[in-house]
């Protein structure tokens, strides 16, 4: 089970959270202007990264708030958590996991 650091409540076990998928996917500002390819990208296509992945979590059995996390999907190590709306933190080369 993951230990996840909620930016508002601190470290809590994974069972308090629900997963929200890939982060930083912005809802289209002008949906009527999107073509089919852009809709496909927004609705269905995901990076499915092997490595550092920015993703949404919700502390559903705690404060109830959404936040973002950087997690290495090759090791499940959580590298950072940050508030929704903030840009993805730059971990720098030193904290990049070994491939």
């Amino acid at each position: 089970m993951l230990l996840i650091g909620c930016p508002y409540c601190g470290e809590r076990p994974e069972i308090e959270f629900s997963y929200g998928g890939q982060a930083h996917i912005a809802r289209p500002a002008r949906p009527a202007e999107l073509d089919d390819a852009a809709w496909t990208e927004f609705l269905y296509m995901r990076d499915n990264t092997k490595g550092v992945h920015a993703e949404r979590w919700r502390h559903s059995h705690g404060c109830g708030r959404f936040f973002n996390a950087l997690r290495d999907t090759a090791t499940d190590r959580i590298l950072a958590t940050y508030e929704t709306g903030k840009p993805r933190p730059d971990l720098g080369a030193a904290r990049e996991p070994a491939p």
């Binding site: 296509m45 990076d47 090759a74």
Partner: protein
Amino acid sequence: MSRQRFSALALIRRGLSGHRGWQPQWRKASPQPAYDAVIVGGGGHGLGAAYYLAKEHNLGRIAVLEKGWIGGGNTGRNTTIIRSNYLFAESAALYDHAVKMWEDLSQVLNYNVMFSPRGVMMLAHTVHDVQVSKRHIHANRCNGVDNEWLEPEQAKAFCPPLNISDNIRYPVLGAALQRRGGTARHDAVAWGYARAADALGVDIIENCEVTGIRKDARGAVEALETTRGLIGARKVGVSAAGSTSVVMKLADVRLPLESYPLQALVSEPVKPIFPCVVMSNTIHAYISQSDKGELVIGAGTDAYTSYTQRGALHINTHTLDAICELFPQFRRLRMLRNWGGIVDVTPDRSPIIAKTPVPGLYVNCGWGTGGFKATPGSAHLFAWTIARDEPHPINGPFTIERFRDGYLIDEAAAAAVAH
């Protein structure tokens, strides 16, 4: 090349001579400079595709590249359930194609894959479940797939360990039974296809990871960069399950996939007690008994995407809560081992067997939590698609473009969430 044929006579003869003289089942092949077709991924789907390419399409020089050992991915990690009782016509055709091929696969491959059509029973626990199950049954029958409704007493007669008392949290209100469904020996499927493909000249190359996909001037596939050198390839079929996104990214092809850990576990072996396969989507568990006597148990994926081939213990605990409620006599059984595999899940929970925007590059992916059941059919259709550069009518609807065009085959919404 000649291979020893397996038969009762051969078994007796070798038995009398102390089982010496069995040959290796397939060669340890080294990569050649170029092939007419290369399959990336040495699981059941990939090995099977190579076999059908050689057997039915006579495609010339064929290789299977596997980054680990064959059958070491999801083929060796699943709970071996085989069924075809899917709701939509497209899915029913696809999965029933596979079930029909399972029925004589041992004879075709001359390798005992231990296909056992012992019946797959899917439980209904709520009024909604009952209605959905009956809808599935009618839809299946319209598509020529067997499925029948059982009242709780009939379900218990078919599976005596089942608890049908009305004082559990989600009592059993009935069940849908597909008698042609069942299980098979998963490792034997990989080994049987490997042996049969090798006998037709296919090179099976293990410990060979693809690190790059080279394209020629018009953008078509030309060669694969691998950890064992550059391998020329006219056609490349990617059948890499959970790692499909990683491999396809090498060719700049984006797919609607997310990779999740899916866990399974087995109990200590016990004498035969469990005659069929039982699944419950509502309280989320499925169970059967292997020929070794272990109860084979699984349920849903972990919550988050991952490539680690392991998951969290609370998922298994939750699964066992459901199993112990349905089968209270298993409460005292100890669990022997658990493991995880990485499953590639599409938004509609239906697979993709299709051409890609890159000429000469094909993909077979998105089988999610239920790919084992489809192994022979999937391999057969993928080989067809690669050889003819067009899909077979059965896998025609299972394209990447269905997500753009809105033709989803939404088995996810049809509640076929557990496999």
